[in-house]
């Protein structure tokens, strides 16, 4: 097992990894930007090294500084968390070259799966259904239109280097297609330095359902069931749960088998996620693979009772997975809400600043992963997610009731948050009956008075 691990991340996921290390008896080294001196990952790690000024391009995205820090701190491994350098194949490769274990798949796997078109090809070759679309990137607008007609409208145009909803455009007919295709290419070129796009069938009433995969260096690959992440705002997940309210044993078996097929095809090692869309007829389509731990990993942890971050570390240390596929069971229902420092009533504008009142929910069936404390100043430089609340219980109903009470007692003063907004979703009839598709938030937002989403005055005023 490793003696010391450097955590190349910040916020709640850095704390999450520190917790796993402490429970495993592994020493930890945090890296931090000058804006994060007051952050708990710096305080709770065994050591910490400042790697640059506030902007992440000058700190958390600086592979050279992180590797230097790893070298002077003499760590055995680096855990990249999610975001930042977690899916940067070059960074993983540098780690490999320096003899520092990158806790994740190989750089080659990251590179393969990072190219969405290549990932689709691999899935297709493995016999896994993918969303009907162009066979790889497509350059010529006329050829693209032909493909779009073949697939049948509506279609989506996606950037090869995109992800998380960035660089996607919808076309309902040949006229709009011609326009959107050009825009998509320009946007992709601008955003990712790569103008390649591909075309896909638009899925009706899609649900976003992903499968958690674990693979080890001994050839064992298992899946830990699904997470339903249909509740998204602008393709950013907001609420995730497991099991999915629409899942059947048969569909889970087929989707799980498909997920393992893909993982096996790339010789996947460590934790990864196979993302799928499921349409209203129960057809599923592979969309992409995430080669890192996900924000929503805690949902699976609580629903199946397995500590994913510890498994990541054990796998990276060369240990075989000791969990057998047939022993993986959903032992309860779990749901996660991402708490963000943002103002839903003002188009979700970020709301950084000093937290002057802080009381996180507690009690039976509630897990909180957060780096916030009273008087903590949320810096404006990074992601607005400041906390994850996970509730769980024997049934979905219980998990939802518990989430409602947990969000109801979560007190954050001094900044705006999406607590009231997400609590309104948890209590929404359509959501409760399990009917949320990826269109849910758009619809919910349009039919719900905005006053409901703003924090009560008591939560935003100073003391």
């Amino acid at each position: 097992m490793f003696g010391k691990i450097l955590i190349a991340n910040r916020g709640e996921i850095a704390l999450r990894i520190i917790r796993a290390c402490k429970e495993l008896g592994i020493r930890t080294v945090a890296v931090y930007s000058e804006a994060d001196e007051q952050s708990l990952h710096v305080q709770l790690a065994d050591g910490a090294i400042c790697i640059g000024p506030a902007p992440s391009t000058e700190s958390y995205l600086r592979a050279d500084r992180i590797i230097s820090a790893a070298e002077i701190a003499d760590v055995d491994a680096i855990h990249p968390g999610y975001g930042f350098l977690s899916e940067d194949a070059d960074f993983a490769e540098q780690c490999e070259r320096c003899g520092i274990k990158f806790i994740g798949p190989t750089s080659a796997t990251i590179r393969d799966m990072g190219d969405k078109a290549r990932a689709r090809d691999m899935a297709k070759a493995a016999g896994v259904p993918i969303v009907p679309g162009s066979d790889g990137p497509i350059e010529d607008p006329n050829e693209a239109l032909e493909v779009a007609k073949q697939i049948g409208f509506p279609v989506i145009i996606k950037a090869v280097s995109g992800g998380g909803g960035r660089g996607m455009r919808l076309a309902h007919n040949p006229v709009s297609f011609a326009r959107e295709f050009g825009s998509a290419k320009i946007e992709a070129e601008k955003a990712f330095g790569d103008g390649s796009v591909y075309i896909e069938k638009y899925i009706e009433e899609p649900r976003h359902i992903e499968f958690q995969i674990l693979g080890d260096t001994h050839g064992n690959i298992i899946h830990l069931g699904e997470r339903d992440c249909s509740v998204q705002r602008r393709h950013q997940k907001v609420i995730e749960e497991a099991p999915s309210p629409i899942m059947t044993d048969d569909l889970r078996k087929r989707m799980g088998d498909a997920a393992i097929k893909i993982a096996r095809a790339v010789g996947y090692v460590n934790a990864g996620t196979i993302e799928n869309l499921v349409d209203k007829h129960g057809n599923f389509y592979f969309i992409e693979m995430n080669t890192r731990i996900q924000v929503e990993h805690a949902v699976t942890e609580e629903a199946v009772g397995i500590d994913l971050v510890k498994e990541q570390i054990r796998i990276a240390a060369g240990h075989p997975i000791t969990i057998k596929q047939e022993d993986v069971k959903f032992i309860r229902h779990a749901i996660e809400v991402r708490i963000c420092a943002e103002n839903p009533a003002r188009n979700f504008a970020p709301s950084p600043g000093r937290v002057n009142l802080y009381y996180p929910p507690g009690g039976h069936g509630v897990r909180v992963d957060s780096h916030v404390y009273g008087e903590y100043v949320i810096p404006p430089y990074y992601d607005s997610m400041i906390s994850k609340v996970i509730t769980f219980g024997a049934t979905r109903e219980l998990a939802l009731d518990r989430m409602s009470r947990a969000l109801g007692e979560y007190l954050i003063g001094g900044i705006e948050t999406n607590i009231a907004f997400t609590r309104a979703i948890i209590r929404d009839h359509e959501f409760i009956k399990g009917g949320a598709t990826t269109k849910f938030i758009e619809d919910f937002f349009s039919r719900t008075p905005k006053e409901l989403f703003s924090s009560p005055p008591s939560h935003s005023d100073g003391k």
Binding site: A30, E34, Q38, G47, I49, I51, R65, I72, A73, D74
Partner: protein, 149 residues
């Protein structure tokens, strides 16, 4: 130099910065070092001024780096290992009392097997060397105290 350990991060100037260290089996202990901020201790440094905006964990920035007239610091622009000379047998690039200009090389920082010359980027006289030869430094860590010209 990969063998340098974090525990060697302490610097001689006890009052300069503080950091919190946690060993596997201890509650946080405050030791002198130049890395992250410790818990709410009353920092052992001269801060007779009005309190800065409230911070929970005092840091170098809010407790020590008070502007002193005519005094400034040459800080590390990277993470790595600090060397005062080009080779063990060579003399130090600079010593206390030496006058430096913006482009004077004051030390080398080794990062990722590369030796980086570090320039003073200020004019003045070296008042104090703050880091011992061969120790690790982090981004922004003061290396030399200088009296600016």
């Amino acid at each position: 130099m990969r063998r340098a350990d974090l525990t060697e991060f302490e610097i001689e100037d006890q009052g300069f910065k503080l950091r919190i260290r946690r060993n596997g089996d201890e509650r946080p202990v405050v030791t002198s070092s130049n890395t992250p901020p410790p818990f709410a201790v009353s920092a052992p440094e001269p801060t007779p001024q009005a309190a800065p905006p409230p911070v929970v964990f005092p840091t170098a920035r809010n407790t020590v780096a008070l502007p002193e007239a005519g005094v400034s610091y040459i800080k590390s622009p990277m993470v790595g290992t600090f060397y005062r000379a080009a080779a063990p047998e060579n003399p130090s690039f600079v010593n206390v009392g030496d006058v430096v200009t913006e482009t004077s090389v004051v030390c080398i920082i080794e990062a990722m097997k590369v030796m980086n010359d570090i320039q003073a980027e200020a004019r003045g006289t070296i008042l104090e060397a703050l880091v011992e030869n061969g120790k690790s430094v982090e981004y922004g860590q003061p290396l030399f105290k200088i009296k600016t010209a």
